[in-house]
């Protein structure tokens, strides 16, 4: 059992949907990002997705691209990202942390070294956008062996033939991408998402969380309502990008969390 499994067990017993929020490590600087991160659980966030900055985020829209650029220009590194998690864990042993990013910074560091460090600082799961099941031997299998969840994306193009392959080595939860597109794109439609989530749930016991295109408390409520929870990323990152202080960002997050939890 990881912290992720524990969290879903708790939410299930409470009859609540999960609210997952994304922030970029080191955006716009480590101090602000850490202040936001530390405040997320109190704002109602059940699982934290922490973005690992990368120069070439091919699946991300402009909002998260710019967040990564701000972080990198501020000198953010893999070391500093791991340290952020360590600092967060000093005061919070319960909230699951999922590191989300692209493969090259991990590959460059060395998979075994990275996994040992990630486990040691208190990361619970990984979402690596450019590692489909076809490349499971790279990181997915080693991560599971190291005791980390490897959370896979399922998308509208993942058809019935392919779904078992996508689910096979997934753990923690399944992240359903609500639209064919990049982060921060068109609004997710509950009418379209609902049947897709149901389709996935027929093939897995894992919770299904929906992300991409969710940017208001109302959207969080309706989308979480047709799944086991929802993720908001770009909308929060946009607040950070506008230069808002941590308290204002957290107030915005709290509204989103209320939306998701009212589903």
């Amino acid at each position: 059992m990881t912290r992720i499994d524990d969290t879903f067990a708790r939410l299930k017993s409470q009859g609540k949907k999960a609210f997952v929020s994304y922030i970029m490590a080191g955006d716009p600087d480590v101090a602000t990002a850490l202040a936001v991160m530390k405040g997320l659980p109190a704002a109602g966030v059940d699982i934290i997705e922490l973005g690992l900055p990368f120069t070439d985020p091919m699946a991300d829209g402009p909002t998260i691209q710019l967040a990564g650029q701000r972080a990198l220009e501020g000198g953010m590194t893999v070391d500093a990202t791991l340290q952020m998690v360590r600092d967060f864990r000093a005061a919070d042993q319960k909230t699951p942390i999922v590191l989300m990013g692209y493969y090259n910074p991990i590959y460059s560091r060395g998979v075994d070294r990275f996994l040992a460090e990630a486990k040691e600082v208190g990361i619970d799961g990984l979402i690596v956008v450019d590692l489909p099941p076809e490349e499971d031997a790279e990181l997915c299998i080693p991560a599971q062996k190291a005791g980390l969840n490897f959370i896979r994306l399922a998308t509208p193009t993942t058809d019935a033939k392919r779904l078992p392959k996508v689910l096979q080595n997934t753990s923690g939860f399944v992240y359903y991408v609500s639209v064919t597109g990049i982060t921060g794109s068109a609004a997710a439609q509950a009418g379209e998402v609902g049947p897709e989530v149901a389709r996935i749930k027929r093939s897995t016991e894992l919770p299904v969380i929906v992300g991409f295109g969710i940017n208001t408390p109302e959207a969080a409520r309706t989308i979480a309502g047709v799944a086991d929870g929802c993720v908001v990323g770009s909308a929060i990152v946009k607040e950070v990008g506008a230069g808002k202080p941590a308290a204002d960002v957290l107030a915005f997050v709290a509204d989103l969390a209320k939306g998701a939890h009212s589903a």
Binding site: A59, P62, S108, P132, E134, T157, T180, I182
Partner: protein
């Protein structure tokens, strides 16, 4: 090197799209079903005689193939050593080798029922070739081009627009070729159902590196029979030289000769201001290390933390921080040798080629030519070098003028 017999350099990639550890399919889940479908369709097309009949017909009547294999007598005399031949792919319709591959991909896209074509472009040659073939077939064409390149390659931007393409200046990241590729991938993931991504080089997720190589291999296949025609039955080149950005013209020349052990194979990377720790170059093999970007594992210019660095070269067509995965493999197994040439050396070769042969080369093959100038004088007179003149230099005259201190009114 070759352990399992004659075919061992030409059997790649394996089923997972790997050349050794290089290549693969490092893309988001949204694209995977499409990439698998593309692979299946391509595997079918490549053994379908009607597909190749259509290609051959267009290569001959639309592109103007075969391109000549030209013995360069004055350059050879000037260098005083090996005989230098040029494969004249700059004489193709649209002025470069790029169209060889575009034709293949567009015919495939039509067979797959795709109605919208997207492409990335650096110098604009691949964009122009894609816009051209889309115009010919009445397909919608969108070209992503770094904002910086849009500015410095204005004639090619106008060409693409004349041909009916939409050119989207890319400002994400630093607005270069790699960012154009990122934005093309973002478009593809968004419009995956009706859109075909026409990649311009031997990179990207499997099956692109193999597919683009196969389409470009017409270059090397022609060299094989053309040289035999001019030098006698069975005469193979002794050395092949080609410039490398992503590496498609080079792969096209090299591939049909990989299993001929007597043929030396040399790829020439863009050394920019010199391959050293200032990193002002695009020499991924001589100055980079393996990493994962744009769907494949290959040698990349990157910092110690795995962040991708910008390339630097006088030639916009070589300005890419990666290289096709098959080149990475050929480099590691030692079948091909890779060297680098600086901006200054390429400029010198550019001028020499104009003056001695009456050919204005693109800056990309000027790098290959510069290496020929280095090695030809050291080789015997019966040694045959074939270099790939993969593009013409019309697009580059403004850049060259600037470096020579000449002011031109546009």
């Amino acid at each position: 090197m070759a352990e399992d017999g004659l075919n061992s350099f030409m059997t790649g990639p394996d089923e997972a799209g790997r050349f050794g550890i290089f290549g693969g399919r490092f893309v988001s889940e949204t694209l995977m079903p499409l990439i698998l479908d593309l692979e299946e369709r391509y595997n079918h097309a490549k053994t379908d005689p009607t597909f190749w009949a259509e290609m051959d017909d267009l290569w001959k009547h639309y592109v103007g193939r075969p391109s000549p294999l030209y013995f360069a007598p004055r350059l050879t005399a000037h260098l005083g050593g090996a005989k230098v031949y040029m494969k004249r792919d700059e004489l193709n319709h649209t002025g470069a080798h790029k169209v060889n591959n575009v034709l293949g991909q567009i015919i495939l896209a039509r067979r797959m029922g795709k109605t919208r074509i997207i492409a990335e472009t650096g110098a604009g040659q691949h964009g122009v070739a894609t816009a051209t073939v889309c115009a010919k077939f009445g397909l919608k064409c969108v070209v992503y081009m770094g904002a910086h390149d849009v500015e410095r390659q204005a004639p090619n931007v106008f060409r693409m627009k004349l041909l009916g393409a939409e050119v989207i200046p890319v400002t994400s990241g630093r607005g270069t070729l790699k960012d154009a590729m990122n934005d093309a991938l973002r478009d593809w993931v968004t419009n995956v159902r009706d859109t075909f991504y026409c990649i311009g080089t031997v990179a990207g997720p499997h099956p692109y590196p193999a597919m683009v190589r196969d389409f470009q291999s017409i270059i090397g296949k022609e060299v094989r029979w053309q040289l035999a025609e001019q030098e006698g039955e069975g005469r193979l080149p002794d050395t092949l030289v080609a410039a490398i950005g992503g590496g498609s013209n080079a792969m096209g020349l090299f591939y049909p000769f990989l299993n001929d052990p007597s043929v030396n194979i040399i790829g020439v990377e863009a050394g920019g201001k010199g391959v050293d720790d200032r990193m002002q170059h695009c020499a991924s093999l001589t100055g980079g290390r393996p990493g994962v970007l744009h769907g494949n594992r290959t040698y990349l210019l990157q910092d110690p933390d795995g962040q991708i660095l910008e390339g630097f070269s006088i030639s916009a067509g070589l300005d890419y921080p990666g290289i096709g995965p098959e080149h990475s493999w050929l480099h590691d197994v030692g079948r091909a040798k890779y060297v680098s040439i600086t901006d200054a050396e390429a400029l010198e070769a550019f001028q020499l080629c104009c003056q001695l042969e009456g050919i204005i080369p693109a800056l990309e093959p000027s790098h290959a030519l510069a290496h020929v100038m280095k090695i030809a004088p050291t080789l015997p007179k019966d040694h045959i070098i074939v270099m790939n003149m993969c593009g013409r230099g019309d697009k580059d005259i403004f850049t060259v003028a600037k470096h020579l201190g000449v002011t031109m009114k546009v």
